[in-house]
């Protein structure tokens, strides 16, 4: 019986099947996290299988609920891509939260002001571009501060998150307030993203998100610039020695990263939200980070993980209503998955991990094959 962990080579040596190991880390992490979540659920006297049943069946009970999972996945794909792009070049963009908000703010400010003066689709496209620009600038500032003044980008990003959210709340209850409620007016029908699945709220945004993910994948893994960007992230010393302008990479990646996050806010506004209010897009930025890490920083993988996250997000309210287990169990599980994925990734990168696995494989080989000296 062949050992799936390693593949034999003609010389009788074994090579660790890296793809399988890399794939197993997130899968096992998910299982382990759900296991611990199950222990928590048992500890409050509920049946975890029943709770998880509601969590996963709720989103697929009818077409509309299924559509909601796609709707929720859309911004998460964007924010995950934002994290992946920055992280691949060695910058930790934790400011997705604020960049999403600034994208949406720029879009609504433009849309509310100019609706009617230009055709709807033109407004829509300009608004999306402005969202990209606003998010990009909001990411660019921490990037510039890091690159030129060596200021910790993580802390600046977090401060910028709070500033952006407070700014949005100010707009909703001040200059852009609609009558009595602290929210902005709705944008007109003509400037909304078209729905693409009848009977659901699924809008064109999911297509934009998937196309962006594929484009990012192509850029990172099939172009020279993408390669350089990854070199800067993996080994800044080597990149510096090769004459790459690391500061320029830092600034540009933070701009692109912020721009994708800004697009998330803009698309969410034109696709489903239609107006801003306190709590708009809350936690999308942070969820994007989790998704990026769990997908092992792979743009295509992030589509799948974002979808799993959106199913959890969509199912959690069904679960809470049916079983009384608070929706925060989903966040607990997500945090645990991050711990385990990062731990697993670290462990498989240990210097002695591969040799240990290969030694283990030698012992595991069927006795007969070992006697023959072949590669069993």
């Amino acid at each position: 019986m062949p050992n799936p962990w390693v593949s034999p080579t003609p010389g009788g040596y074994f090579v660790v099947n890296e793809r399988l190991v890399k794939f197993l880390v997130p899968v096992l992490s998910l299982l382990l996290a759900f296991g611990i979540g199950g222990i928590l659920i048992v500890s409050v006297g509920k049946n975890p299988l029943e709770v998880y049943g509601y969590l996963f069946s709720g989103p697929f009970s009818n077409l509309n609920s299924f559509g909601e999972t796609l709707v929720k996945a859309t911004p998460l794909i964007f924010t995950a891509l934002a994290t992946i792009f920055a992280y691949r070049s060695g910058v930790f963009n934790i400011g997705g939260e604020g960049q999403v908000v600034m994208g949406a703010v720029a879009s609504i400010a433009f849309t509310l002001r100019f609706t009617g003066t230009l055709p709807g689709p033109v407004i829509l496209i300009i608004s999306l571009l402005l969202g990209i620009l606003a998010g990009g600038v909001w990411g660019l500032i921490p990037g510039v501060l890091k690159a030129l003044l060596n200021i910790n980008e993580v802390i600046v990003c977090i401060a910028f998150n709070y500033i952006a959210i407070l700014f949005m709340n100010y707009l909703c209850s001040g200059p852009m307030k609609e009558k009595v409620n602290p929210q902005t007016p709705q944008i007109a029908e003509s400037v909304r993203l078209p729905r693409i699945l009848p009977g659901t709220r699924v809008h064109l945004g999911i297509v934009i998100a998937v196309v962006t993910a594929v484009a990012f994948y192509y850029f990172l893994f099939h172009t020279a610039h993408g390669f350089k960007l990854r070199v800067v992230g993996l080994n800044p010393q080597a990149a510096f020695a090769s004459g790459y302008k690391i500061r320029t990479y830092t600034i540009l990646t933070m701009f692109v990263s912020g721009a994708v996050a800004g697009l998330a806010g803009s698309v969410e506004l034109h696709g489903v939200g239609y107006r801003l209010m306190a709590g708009f897009c809350a936690d999308y930025g942070y969820n994007g980070i989790s998704i990026a890490l769990i997908s092992q920083l792979n743009p295509l993988g992030s589509i799948l993980v974002a979808y799993i996250f959106s199913v959890l997000r969509a199912g959690s309210s069904t679960m809470q209503i049916a079983t009384g287990i608070p929706t925060s169990i989903v966040e607990i599980i997500q945090a645990l998955v991050i711990f385990f994925v990062i731990a697993g990734t670290t462990i498989i990168n240990y210097d002695n991990f591969k040799p240990a696995l290969e030694r283990f494989a030698q012992k595991w080989r069927p006795r007969k094959a070992r006697k023959e000296g072949g590669a069993g």
Partner: protein
């Protein structure tokens, strides 16, 4: 009348600054222990949240503020042990694990809170620590109100500053901490158990940050609400950088941020028509400005965030 011209405005502003500072100060000193031993502490926010919840629950069930603080610290320590395990033993990335801690702790706190009190929306207020005015001194005009009429934990927090300074500058274990954060291989070769020091630092950090969280529930609010820490962990972390990893400078940095917070709260009262969101931005703007102001001058322990492999040389 100009509200800034009255003495009571300034008296209340300064007194309020002294009240707002202890959670930042305790958390920043906790993070100092961690960072001195080479662990990056983005998870401060999460530890504070856990301390806030466990402190509140203990106060609620025992009726004693003292046990509230003890369990606040215990909650912080237990949560930080998760972080210590993954960063020290598994040697995983500090920043990401810190962020995961910040996601885990509020969710866990909400889960435990709901599991204890159910879905009810009524606020359950526990005991609050009483003020302990210092005899004679608190009767002084102005200074008495500002400095000497506070809760016991406030005095303790400020007293911890000289103690921490002494620990890190004059005390052998403290110097060992610093060695571990600067150059763990050298520390190991001098017979310091690097792994043990790192775990100890994790416990100290959990203790201080847990207390900081418990301060919010046990000393000021009296109850737990979601999002109670509201960024104080990150502000404390910035204060650590702003204070250049030095306890006395950290005191000034946290007073600066505490004052920014107190100032915006006072302004909200003094200028009722003004949009409070713009005022609430002040501490965060102050934070970014402060980071820009000290750029380059702030150099932390060299090995912060680096995984330590004993066998590597």
């Amino acid at each position: 009348m100009n509200p800034f011209a009255t003495l009571s405005f300034w008296e209340q502003l300064f007194a309020s600054t002294i009240r707002m500072t202890p959670p930042l100060l305790l958390a920043a000193l906790g993070a100092l222990f961690s960072e001195r031993a080479g662990m990056s502490m983005l998870g401060l926010e999460g530890i504070m949240t856990m301390g806030a919840l466990s402190g509140y629950l203990a106060t609620y069930f025992t009726g004693s503020v003292f046990w509230g603080l003890v369990f606040g610290a215990v909650g912080g320590i237990l949560l930080n042990l998760i972080f210590s395990f993954f960063t020290v033993t598994v040697k995983a990335n500090h920043i990401i694990n810190g962020m995961a801690l910040n996601i885990l702790a509020p969710a866990l706190a909400t889960f435990l809170f709901r599991a204890t009190f159910g879905e009810s929306t009524t606020v359950v207020v526990g005991n609050v620590m009483q003020d302990m005015p210092i005899p004679v001194l608190s009767k002084l005009p102005f200074v008495g109100t500002v400095l000497f009429s506070h809760k016991p934990l406030v005095y303790v927090a400020f007293l911890l500053v000289p103690l921490t300074a002494f620990f890190f500058n004059r005390f052998k274990p403290g110097l060992n901490f610093r060695a571990v954060g600067e150059y763990p291989q050298a520390a190991e070769s001098l017979g310091i158990n690097v792994i043990r020091v790192k775990y100890l630092a994790g416990v100290m950090c959990g203790l201080f940050a847990g207390l900081a969280g418990a301060y919010l529930t046990v000393c000021s609010l009296g109850t737990y609400v979601d999002g109670i820490v509201s960024g104080r962990g990150y502000v404390a972390l910035s204060a650590l950088i702003f204070g250049r990893w030095n306890p006395v400078s950290i005191l000034w940095a946290t007073l600066f941020f505490g004052m920014a917070d107190a100032f915006q709260l006072r302004l909200q009262l003094a200028l009722p028509g003004f949009p409070y969101q713009l005022l609430a931005m002040l501490p965060y703007v102050a934070l970014v400005v402060a980071l820009v102001a000290i750029r380059g001058k702030s150099v932390g322990p060299k090995a912060v965030g680096q995984p330590y492999f004993r066998e590597h040389r």
